[in-house]
Amino acid sequence: MTRSRLTVMMCAGTGCIASGSMKVKHALEEEIKKQGLEDEVKVVMSGCNGYCSEGPIVEVYPGGVFYQKVTVEEVPKLVEEHFLKGRPYEKLMFKEPLKKAPLPEIMSIPFFKHQVVRVLRNRGLIDPEKIEDYIARDGYQALAKALTSMTPGDVVKVVSDSGLRGRGGAGFPTGKKWELGLKIKSDLKFVVCNGDEGDPGAFMDRSVMEADPHAVIEGMIICGVATESHKGYIYVRAEYPLAVKRLQIAIDQCYEAGLLGENILGTGFAFDLDIYQGAGAFVCGEATALMRSIEGKRGMPRPKLWRSAEKGLWDKPTVLNNVETFANIPQIILNGAEWYKSYGTEKSTGTKVFALTGATRDSGLVEVPMDTSLRKIIYDIGGGIKKKGRAFKAVQLGGPSGGCIPEQFLDIPVTYEDIKKAGAIVGSGGMVVMDDTNCMVSTAKFFLEFTTDESCGKCVPCRVGTKLMHDMLADICEARGQEGDIEVLQDLSYDIIDSSLCGLGQSAPNPVLSTIQYFRDEYEKHIRDKWCPTGVCRDLTTFVIDRNFCKGCGACMRACPSKAITGEKKQPHLIHQDACVHCRTCWDTCKFNAIRILPASARTASEEEMERLIVKLFGSRPETAPEPTAAKAAASTAKAPEVTK
């Protein structure tokens, strides 16, 4: 293999592929060839880089120069400037948010600067389809160590001592699970990797499987060593074709390299590994349902009459861990428990990967020590709220099983204990940030719609209870809410939590409970005033233009899909209620905060009544004076608003 002068790491994670990285890669190769640089510059497909909102992403080594949103059109310039002339191409670099200065180095970008990568340590650095790349980064060293210089008991002890807890959501101590797995004797035991990631907005496991499949495999083989098991399954949902493909390539490479199969590394230890593709049922992420699914049965949880460690897959002892959990193992074995515990808190050690999405400026995969605060993740790494003039409202943690945490808890660390105390769960690591344009009742309804749809239907509380909760929330959002609904929702939630069979049902009411807890007034406005203050619930809104603020710029008029807005230039506009479809486009469009969202009852109100209502609900001036950028531009032309009456 000839050594190249430059290595171009082209992100080939699902996110970047979706934004066109394969086309860019092709263009890069063509251009490099055109310039006659093919011996000097090598293009390598890397796994997910994590900074998914800025894809397609290219990193150039040596130097670690980071390019974002690379397009085919920019490729010739990039090749010419950087690869040929040796001048990093500023146009595609990340710009420092305030000073707008380009930051060439990846580690100086805020998104990356605050992260501590252990599970994601190989991101952007290796080609996930090449076992050599993984081995070059100490891959399979841990396995060799476990097989040659450690007893199964030693391995279990290191994992126990590290304090690693299940990264799938429940946070069960991994060492404890393995200990039981080792203790129970059987002719056949299984190691199962749960890659049935299904929370809306979560993609940690997908990225790990895509970017570093060997880390997962190595973790599983080590688990086999530790629990004296010789057969493993990776359960991946079929909607993750790239993960399946890369895992399969990795497994094949392992068999070829003697890292799977009989006599691994010449030690006599045998381990076989297969991929089982799930059909996309969320509930199959539940361990017992997942095992039934592998058995070829309907994926339904079974009562915990026996622990999976005793009777799991095909009623044989089974150790099941999540993708991220397994991916942590090799580093723990290699570096020791103390090293792992150097981050995090006493009970929540190490790092955790979060999928940061939603209203933040930057979104993507974020790996942080477990004592990092939410604020740091959202503001320092994520860059805060993206939309100008909008404020943080809540962060949803733990997917459909989690809850919404409001601003006052932003300084708590993301440990299992603290997040739980705040009313959510760490879960698998989904972190959806919401700004103040979000309606919390609708958010709760969204999650209940998800759980209602994904409930397997086996137990009554989950099957019927979540459906009833969803229907009640829909009623509330569609102006059929009744006094007392909040109490019934809470009551029903506790019944479902108390009596459901599996984790899905036991946690499904959490989004409702947490939003009621922190945003009860919003529920009350929905129910009593038939008013959705954020304008999300169409049936609970009247959109009107506050004449005091309208500059008559016409932006809303042009944006209105139903042509419900009329007005003369520079004159306050008017929304015709009979034509309005309550889509909120005008509100989103207006730069002057002149659109007001009133209760649905205002639709038939006279102009005077509306005025009065605006004053009553908002005061004569907006409660927060936004500083819209366009306002300045318009300021020169706009006189003080006059009420034309």
Binding site: L305, T452, E454, G457, K458, V460, R463, V464, D495
Partner: protein
């Protein structure tokens, strides 16, 4: 271990759940998805309990009982959650209890009554989809379903069928056959029994009677030899339905399609309500007095002129022990041992072999015998069809790890679900078994310590010489390896069993196959119990035991000189030196003219009799030839006992009144005896019971095994004129011919079919579902041809249940050494 439930200390076994322990100790915990026969499910959440020291409420069906546990089943907290769960179940449940057949015996209704709240918190649209009533027997109403999954699970886990599934996910989940097609199942109807709501309904019972207006009584199923208990409901003097009741009877409440849907057979066919006497060639109604006197006089005349041995009788496995006992007593009082029954074509053969091979009498099976066996070999028998409650345990055993080897020519469901299906050529069971024995001998895999000491060992060895695995493999078509493999499986197993069925409605194996199986058992050094051949019909075992056989009286007491059996009386087989052919025949509850092999010739034989007296419930083909016909009370119209294939005598009860002037069979015989001036000292049923009890044998004798060499007899080999082998096999919906009178069963199995392989059908240009003429050397029949992938080339499969089909006219008498199969040809009609 000991635990406390509601303050009461109770004992529990290890591995028992709290619910099981509670129920076993008479503590009620409400539940909707639990069934003893099924794996705990944990779906309904009603059985939740509070456990001291546990933070959460636990489902008692899914929590193991532990030593010292302190459980509370009825605290306010628990009651509240139950109330809430039931509330949820009822939100979308239709309010159609007034027209729901389940109302009154609906668990959901009962629980709503106990836990329901007077006011509903949730008012939502109630489910209102049309019910699926496409199937003729079972209606599925998804609106009422609470998705406890019991139906799905009983079908898959217990019945081994899997005809129903949970389709969809979450709230819209429904119970349906795969792909929403019409139900295609065994029609055991267990799903109906386990359904806690009115979602699965017995269509034949639909809108017939409110459960609380019915009288229910337990009785014994009239069909096969399993002897399951049926809970029969009566409404307005008629049987309205039959169902299984959890934990009741030999099958613990599991019943099959025949027991559930077939009991309406008693209303099929026109009942005889009056005695009839043939006058001027025609049967004319008569009074009991006249008919009894006439019959008695005629009988006396035959006895006087031709001697008592000119009188013969045929008993019936459909009649009770009392009826059969009195019949044989009547005959033996006359002085004749010429008494036999259809058992001579089935169980009687097995029993005779049993006596010869083991020196024992009264061969019985245990329905649970397959459970826990390491290896089971089934020889050319569809035990799941002939004896469903026995067959179900073969499936269960297989699921639990038994190696079930099914040697059969046809790919039956038993074969499909067995550990191994060895496809043998039809009617070659004897060769297969001999081949296995030969392998055991050659490889020294037999009981070398004891077997050589058994009488006949050397002769057996010699006779088996020709059955090398190669030769046996050639005869059976399995090849040598398969035979060696079976032999090795049986030899290496710690516990093993051979099972087969033998009956008048089958022809693939006879006494020789049973003997070959017995030889194998003795070679293996197994106890005789390792051979399991269930008696075919409801009281076949019983009638044999009470002496309806020519060679022995009640309780297996041999007679000095055996009388004439069926082959002699009906088929003109050599009947011993100087014995006159039977001139008068007394037939009780049997229909040789339609249901015995070679029926066409039998009609001739019966027409030639000087005197034919028939007592039956309908005017059978045989009765039509009779000189005197007595109307008999049928099943469910009289008290008595049946003895099942396990040898268990169980009480039958009179549920409905017999029609017209009909009387119990024993009563007719007792009256006839009185009319003849002799009398049997039987005034009431009690007298018979007392006599039978007095005769009940004490301790059983020890086994004295003996080997008897048997050879494989191919029987009627197919040739150019008759190129196909006719295999007569039972179908699941019928047992004997009486079930064909059932209207309900007729909806799913209405007529005799002939199943033919795709290749043979192609050769004959048969596309399937068409009428064909089947011709043998003895007779012909018109049947509907079905092309089946389950049957082999060169053989056709027909059931003998349907008397009118003419199938029995095609057959010859087989079973006692005669080659089993018949050769036929098929003509397109």
């Amino acid at each position: 271990m000991e635990l406390t439930i509601n303050g009461k200390k109770i004992q529990a076994e290890k591995g028992q759940t709290i619910l099981q322990a509670a129920l076993a100790n008479g503590i009620k915990i409400p539940n909707l998805c639990y069934d003893k026969r099924l794996v705990p499910y944990g779906g309904c959440r009603l059985c939740i309990v509070e456990i001291e020291g546990s933070r959460k409420l636990e489902a008692s069906c899914a929590t193991l009982a532990k030593e010292g546990m302190n459980v509370f089943t009825d605290t306010p907290k628990v009651r509240k959650v139950r109330q809430r769960v039931i509330e949820l179940m009822l939100v979308h449940h239709p309010l159609d209890c007034p027209t729901c057949d389940k109302a009154g015996e609906c668990t959901l209704q009962d629980l709503a009554f106990e836990y329901g709240q007077p006011r509903a918190r949730f008012v939502r649209e109630r489910k209102d989809k049309p019910a699926d009533s496409r199937d003729p027997l079972i209606e599925i109403n998804a609106n009422r379903c609470i998705l406890c999954g019991k139906c799905v699970r009983i079908c898959a886990e217990h019945q081994g069928r899997g005809a129903l599934g949970l389709i969809g996910r979450g709230f819209p989940t429904v119970v349906q056959p795969a792909f929403g097609e019409v139900l295609n199942c065994d029609y055991c109807g267990q799903c109906i029994d386990v359904c806690p709501t009115g979602s699965l309904l017995n269509k034949s019972f639909k809108y017939k009677a409110r459960p609380w207006m019915m009288e229910e009584a337990d009785t014994i199923c009239p069909f096969c030899g399993c002897g399951c208990t049926l809970t029969v409901g009566k409404f307005e003097g008629k049987i309205a339905r039959s169902r299984g009741h959890e934990d009741t009877g030999v099958s613990k409440g599991s019943i099959c399609s025949r027991g559930r849907f077939g009991v309406d057979y008693i209303y099929g066919g026109e009942r005889i309500e009056q005695p009839m006497v043939r006058i001027n060639g025609k049967l004319a109604p008569s009074s009991w007095e006249e008919a009894l006197k006439y019959a008695g006089d005629c009988l006396k005349y035959v006895v006087t002129v031709h001697g008592p041995s000119a009188v013969g009788a045929i008993g019936s496995p459909r009649c009770s022990n009392e009826d059969n006992y009195v019949l044989q007593k009547f005959m033996r009082q006359i002085g004749s041992d010429n008494i036999d029954s259809s058992a001579a074509l089935g169980y009687g053969i097995a029993e005779k072999v049993w006596q010869r091979a083991f020196g024992l009498s009264g061969h019985k099976v245990s329905l649970s015998s397959p459970l826990g066996k390491e290896a089971v070999l089934v020889i050319e028998s569809d035990l799941n069809v002939t004896h469903p409650s026995f067959g179900i345990n073969l499936f269960k055993a297989t699921r639990e790890g038994t190696k079930l080897i099914v040697a059969d020519s046809r790919e039956t469901r038993l074969a499909k679900q067995a550990s191994e299906w060895v496809k043998v050529r039809q009617g070659t069971g004897t060769a297969l078994l001999n081949g296995i024995s030969k392998v055991l001998l050659d490889k020294g895999l037999y009981d070398t310590a004891h077997a050589p000491k058994i009488k006949g060992f050397e002769e057996l060895k010699k006779s088996l010489e020709e059955y090398t695995p190669e030769k046996a493999g050639q005869i059976t078509g399995t090849g040598a390896e398969a035979i060696i493999a079976i032999a090795e499986s049986l030899a290496s197993a710690k516990s093993r069993m051979l099972a087969l069925s033998i009956g008048p409605s089958e022809n693939a194996k006879g006494g020789d196959a049973v003997m070959a199986a017995a030889n194998l058992i003795n070679l293996l050094g197994e106890s005789p119990d390792a051979l399991q051949i269930p008696a075919e019909y409801a009281n076949t075992f019983g009638l044999y035991k009470v002496g309806v056989r020519p060679d022995a009286g009640p309780m297996y007491q041999p007679v000095d000189q055996a009388g004439q059996g069926l082959p002699e009386m009906l088929y003109g087989r050599a009947n011993g030196a100087g014995r006159p052919p039977v001139k008068a025949l007394y037939v009780m509850g049997a229909d040789p003219a339609a249901t015995f092999p070679d029926s066409q010739n039998l009609v001739k034989r019966l027409s030639e009799l000087d005197l034919l007296i028939v007592q039956d419930v309908v005017l059978t083909e045989t009765a039509k030839l009779a000189h005197v016909v007595f109307p008999a009370a049928g099943w469910a119209e009289k008290d008595g006992t049946f003895t099942n294939a396990e040898g268990v005598s169980q009480g039958l009860c009179r549920i409905v009144d017999p029609p017209g002037a009909s009387l119990p069979d024993w009563k007719i015989l007792a009256d006839l005896s009185e009319a003849m001036g002799s009398g049997m000292g039987i005034k009431g049923r009690r007298d018979i019971t007392d006599e039978l009890l007095r005769m009940e044998p004490g301790t059983s004798e020890p086994a004295t095994p003996e080997f008897h060499a048997v050879r494989y007899n191919p029987g009627e080999e197919p040739d150019e004129a008759y190129p196909l082998s006719l295999v007569v096999r039972d179908v699941l919906q019928h047992a004997g011919s009486i079930s064909t009178r059932s209207r309900s069963l007729g909806l799913v199995s209405p007529e005799a079919t002939i199943e033919i392989s795709r290749r043979d059908a192609g050769k004959l240009g048969i596309a399937g579902n068409e009428r064909v003429r089947v011709v043998s050397r003895r007779g012909k029949a018109s049947l509907t041809a079905i092309v089946s992938d389950e049957v082999p080339d060169g053989a056709v499969y027909v059931p003998a249940h349907f008397p009118e089909s003419g199938v029995n006219s095609l057959r010859h008498l087989s079973g006692n050494g005669e080659g089993p199969l018949d050769a036929v040809r098929i003509e397109k009609s």
